[in-house]
């Protein structure tokens, strides 16, 4: 099987879409890119004309915004509730910032497009958040997790197995702290630098990775108890923890 990779810039980062097996036509790729562009147009706070920017300046009210924005807001609220506010969509200055959920939502939308066109095997990586389908040469897609201290090195690699097809990593390393952390409680002796969550869908993985990063070890335990996901964390001393599902994966591999 040939492997073809399509790379494009979107949402301030770069997306890599790699296929194993049938490759879609250019129209399909264009649709995928358009899906991202659409989300960016609506939600990017870096664009003055996006709906979210206009809501931030008060020019547009949330009640009068498009269905897409309100749906996204509703999802963000639901996730905020489910993580007891650790994941939050409001910046400290009160501005509505849905960037924590928008990228994942866009990835999910792209995935739906590819599924609709019957693409069986692909891995979509948008700025470090990954969604996969199918396998490559009969074996599972392998995803490496970056070492936060050395960005060209890996901590470990894991095999993506159905149904856990989404991998999202949250960290303080690259773009600085864009995670609005919940106030530190007295028992956050350990803080995370990077959290990777493996889940069935990319929005869950992304939100929970953010929540665990912001909330710390106590929240990691709570979230792993309540949600059916796996997580791998790196704390600011370089200590690594992994949930049972990842433990074998994370301790393996050379060659």
């Amino acid at each position: 099987m040939t492997v073809t990779t399509h790379v494009f810039n979107t949402m301030g980062t770069t997306a890599s879409l790699r296929f194993a097996g049938p490759v879609p036509s250019d129209e399909v790729l264009l649709q995928v890119e358009d899906a991202f562009a659409e989300f960016d147009r609506r939600f990017s706070l870096y664009r003055a004309d996006s709906e979210l920017s206009r809501i931030a300046t008060g020019e547009l009210t949330l009640a009068h915004s498009s269905d897409a924005v309100r749906d996204c807001y509703r999802d963000a609220m639901m996730w905020s509730h489910r993580t007891a506010g650790v994941f939050t969509s409001h910046r400290p200055d009160g501005v509505l910032d849905l960037s924590g959920i928008v990228k994942a939502a866009a990835i999910a939308a792209a995935g739906t497009i590819l599924d609709t066109f019957g693409m069986p095997s692909w891995v979509l990586n948008v700025g470090g958040d990954i969604l996969t389908r199918g396998s490559i040469n009969g074996s599972a897609w392998r995803i490496g997790i970056t070492d936060p201290d050395a960005r060209t090195s890996l901590l470990c690699a894991l095999e993506v197995q159905n149904p856990r097809q989404a991998v999202a990593t949250s960290g303080t390393a690259e773009r600085g702290e864009h995670i609005w952390r919940a106030p530190a409680t007295s028992d956050t002796l350990v803080r995370y630098r990077q959290v990777t969550v493996v889940a069935d869908d990319i929005v869950t993985a992304d939100v929970l990775a953010t929540a665990i990063l912001a909330g710390g070890p106590q929240w990691c335990d709570d979230i792993l108890d309540r949600f059916d996901v796996d997580a791998l964390t790196v704390d600011d001393h370089g200590g690594i923890t992994a949930s049972p599902g990842l433990r074998e994966a994370a301790s393996l591999i050379l060659g």
Binding site: G128, I145, T146, S153, E174, G239
Partner: protein, 167 residues
């Protein structure tokens, strides 16, 4: 139902409730004190000055989160038992082993069932030892997950190397 039995029954029931309530309240208090003790005796994290002489950074100050306990200059080793946490599967109490200030082992102490049950109920993350840092080629990965990078940063990233190799 005879009146005497009913009255006696009601009174003794109220007494029993009162005792139970009191025990419940007492239990709550003792748990809070235990948690303070556990937090206090856990190792402080950051203040060990490293041995390299070249470091001329300012004297390390304790991070805000460690200020609850007194600062020590030597790393702590030992075993500490945490509070009991009520889960629907029972009470879980955890014992941590610390080696030179670093968490090296976590054991679940108080589970109301056998070990096989603890595996099925606990999805929690436990520490794993860090292997040697891997290079992308030797790990044979297809994609890399990390904190989000900008388009510029992508150009010098591992992912771009993989993408180019894949094409």
């Amino acid at each position: 139902m005879r009146a005497r039995a009913t009255i006696l029954g009601a009174l003794s029931s109220i007494a029993v409730f009162a005792v139970g309530w009191q025990l419940g309240a007492d239990g709550q208090q003792s748990e809070t004190t235990t948690s303070d003790t556990a937090a206090g005796s856990a190792p402080t994290s950051t203040v060990t000055p490293s041995a390299d002489a070249g470091s001329s950074t300012a004297t390390p100050a304790p991070t805000p989160s460690a200020s609850a306990s007194e600062t020590t200059t030597s790393a702590v080793s030992g075993t500490f038992t945490g509070t009991s946490v009520h889960t629907r599967f029972g009470d879980v109490q955890v014992q941590i082993t610390v080696q030179d200030g670093i968490l090296s082992d976590v054991t679940a102490l108080q589970l109301t069932d056998q070990d096989s049950r603890s595996v099925s109920i606990s999805n929690r993350a436990a520490p794993i030892l860090r292997q040697e840092v891997l290079s992308a080629q030797s790990a044979n990965v297809h994609s890399v997950s990390g904190a989000t990078y900008t388009s510029n940063a992508y150009l010098t990233s591992l992912q771009s190397a993989l993408d180019q190799a894949g094409l």
